[in-house]
Symmetry: C2
Subunit: 481 residues, 2 copies
């Protein structure tokens, strides 16, 4: 009897699913259902068994987000019960302006920000000088490089000498603005250089090509192009070298200079109002999260870090990871969507490609090329491409880009803190190897795991760096007193 | 100039996306890209702008689960740091057996479990008596009902008299086993009743039908059916009334009796081993979660509940919700997948439909009919259908099912705790109105929100009930001392 049904089973089912014997044939089924005991059982697998081939778990996504919400709300409540209500706008004004730090009527940050006009005007004057042949090309390039290096070193030097006159936020703002200025003036002078030398090069290159194609026309090529450009209303070098044009570029939400930016036809008032509301609400949200959640967590973590107890450090790290990540997400949206779009709208700047879909990035190099499009485009246009055009390999160019990026990450942290550690630099330099690992993860385990690696490095990498810096900062400033 | 480009825009774009003016036509674009300043900007929207129509946020699902993991790991670490290592198997043995509670050599739970054989044998004897016409039908039904009521009241009475001899787990197990026995014997006697009376009914019904269809054959209908059944190897009433058959049903993973259960051809050893490993691992995981996470949270919540501070109560509730929900999920898997499949495999019971995809349920009534299939099928077959067959409405039948279900939920909590509150009963009776609300949510806001409501009621409803009971229990037992 046993073997008979087993044979039947083997005949009717494929090898991998011989798990269940169906000894009840169609006829038997009919007979069974005509029985008087109202049979309801029939042979079938549980859904979690592999043989059931059931795979609909969409409800679990809702479960995940609900658990996240429950955890989030509880954390908020616990936080308020533990620390009380800590949001205090007046404190913020003090931190932002450094008002009551003993130098109440000096605003060195503001002075330094206003001073940034000087190197800007100098850059324009040098360009103008080269354009009208007052300065020769080589001297001009040398002067521009000097000017750019001056821009980037000025905040570092001033902060080193008069650091205690600055509030932390003031110092960070100064460094950030001067760094942006540095990148913009670099782009400005390099683009103008291309316009000067590209004209000659392209003309001489095209001369030969054109000659062979259609001899009678080659002479008028440049004139023809100028006519076309004029017809399209495009500005040609050196007509772009005006103060208005330069200031437009400095305010525009891009780091890459070009002579004719795409423009929008009008300023949409509703759009402007929406971005302003987002900024007003978002900035307050970030400040509140910072005061209520971040500062207590970081403060609590200092002692822990000194004890070097790995379990406690991990616990603190994960505790810090959540508010830090949320603040970072808010800041991302505020800076890259609300603020840059607002500037773009007000300046009628049409290219709003400030970020790409980095949240879907399947490896870390995709993340770095999508989350901050202005910097990415700048690095490609002004570092990567020029290096490869000089005959170096792509790998070498990538490493140079990462080195420059790492240097500026370090610059933005070390200079305001006046504490030269290399955690941020090391963090950035860890990205190329991490990128290789995430690419392997993507290939071996599928794109989902690549994406999870990207998110992990974001969620966990940042609080690690913050704790390192805060630990060192606290050791330096609080234990010596 | 402005109006001209605006006109152009209106011509080329539809009304809702006139947000961006494309004053650069194809020809202009060509001219621009031939410029020497290597232009890279083009008019486009940011991805978060509605006008970009970008909607790929799949990476955020990974983000959600990662944040959940980060939160979970941190909670674990915080828990260990706060409470130390609390998992203690010896304590479990004490709790389970009530070993050192002063009555060390009495195991009343075990005695009561062994005693369950008595009403089982009595039930069989009554059925046998009716079948051989020793007892008439009406007296038989009366005896069966008495026997069933005896099964369900016995634990309640014994626990009321000798409650302090029982461990909590022992008492719960006894109640659970007697409840299952109650449901099974109900099904057993009702099915046998159908077999006896259904034969007559169906015969008399079919007699008329068959007569009109094919007159010569009608007399042999029952014999014919019996022959068919015999050919298929099916057991007919009253041949099923054996001790072996009854014990098979009592051990089988179902609450619905029928004469010929579908069977598997063989016991898969790998399958059995897997389920045993799951049980061994899972039970320990649940116990560890309970000792390490649940008990401290519940203990801490008692004072809070007395203060009636809504913020603190909510915080405690959410804190309790997470471990409770995880334990419930583990227990669900262990009971409904591991344990019932193990029993099914060992007994070669082929119907493994112990649960359906309740995690995708879009309203609460779907959840109740999918998460516990054995009880659901029992309720439909032995309560709902018989009631509707007697001419009552479906709504009335549903309410009766919910009332019985609510009663047994209350029974499983109140009897072991020896504390007759009605929180569990109220919780169950809240399900029909909640079901209406979730159905409205499903219809108005879409199936996703229905599913979210189901999960919410699961995640938050249970800890609320647990806290109610624990609060009352603690007041009763700890404050009076």
């Amino acid at each position: 009897m046993m073997t008979e049904t087993e044979d039947k089973t083997l005949r009717y089912r494929r090898a991998q699913s011989v798990t269940r014997a169906e000894e009840i044939t169609e006829k038997e089924k009919k007979v069974r259902s005509s029985q008087l005991d109202k049979p309801i059982h029939k042979p079938r697998d549980s859904l979690f068994s592999w043989s059931s081939e059931f795979a609909n778990f969409t409800g679990l996504v809702n479960w995940g987000f609900l658990m996240l919400t429950v955890g989030g709300v509880r954390l908020c409540l616990e936080n308020f019960l533990k620390y009380g209500f800590r949001v205090n706008p007046i404190e913020w004004i003090i931190v932002l302006t450094g008002y009551n730090e003993g130098h109440s009527h000096q605003y060195p940050s503001v002075v330094l920000l206003i001073f940034s006009i000087v190197p800007t005007v100098v850059a324009l004057m040098i360009e103008k000088g080269i354009a009208v042949n007052l300065i020769n090309e080589k001297l001009g390039v040398f002067l521009q490089i000097t000017n750019i290096l001056f821009i980037i070193t000025l905040p570092a030097v001033v902060l080193q000498i008069k650091g205690n006159h600055f509030s932390f936020i003031g110092a960070t703002t100064v460094c950030m603005i001067y760094l942006i200025l540095f990148l913009k003036i670099w782009s400005y002078s390099q683009t103008n250089y291309w316009c000067r030398n590209g004209t000659k090069n392209r003309f001489s290159k095209n001369k030969l090509r054109r000659q062979s194609l259609s001899a009678p026309n080659w002479k008028t090529y440049e004139e023809e192009k100028n006519e076309e450009a004029a017809a399209a209303g495009l500005i040609k070098y050196p007509n772009n070298l005006t103060l208005k044009d330069l200031f437009y570029f400095l305010l525009a939400p891009t780091l890459c200079y070009e002579l004719n930016f795409p423009r929008t036809a009008r300023i949409r008032k509703r759009f402007v109002v929406k971005r302003l509301v987002e900024l007003a609400f978002g900035v307050n949200l970030v400040l509140a999260l910072f005061q209520q959640w971040m500062i207590p967590s970081v403060t609590n973590s200092v002692d822990t870090f000194s004890t070097m107890d790995p379990i406690r450090i991990t616990e603190r790290l994960l505790k810090l990871a959540v508010p830090n990540h949320l603040i970072w997400l808010c800041l991302f949206y505020l800076s890259f969507h609300s603020f840059l779009n607002l500037m773009g709208e007000l300046l009628q700047f049409a290219d709003r490609n400030f970020y790409n879909d980095w949240w879907n990035a399947n490896n870390i190099s995709v993340f770095w090329s999508t989350w901050n499009t202005p910097v990415h485009l700048w690095a490609v246009r002004h570092v990567y491409v020029p290096i490869t055009e000089r005959g170096y390999t792509k790998g070498f160019a990538s490493i140079i880009v990462f080195l420059i990026s790492a240097f500026f990450h370090e610059y933005l942290v070390s200079v305001p803190l006046q504490m030269f550690r290399i955690w941020a630099f090391l963090g950035m330099m860890a990205q190329p190897p991490l990128s290789v690992i995430s690419r392997i993860a993507e290939r071996r385990l599928g794109p989902r795991w690549g994406n999870i690696m990207v998110w992990s490095s974001l969620i966990l990498g940042q609080p690690l760096a913050i704790m390192m810096y805060y630990h060192d900062y606290a050791l330096l400033h609080f234990t010596s007193e």
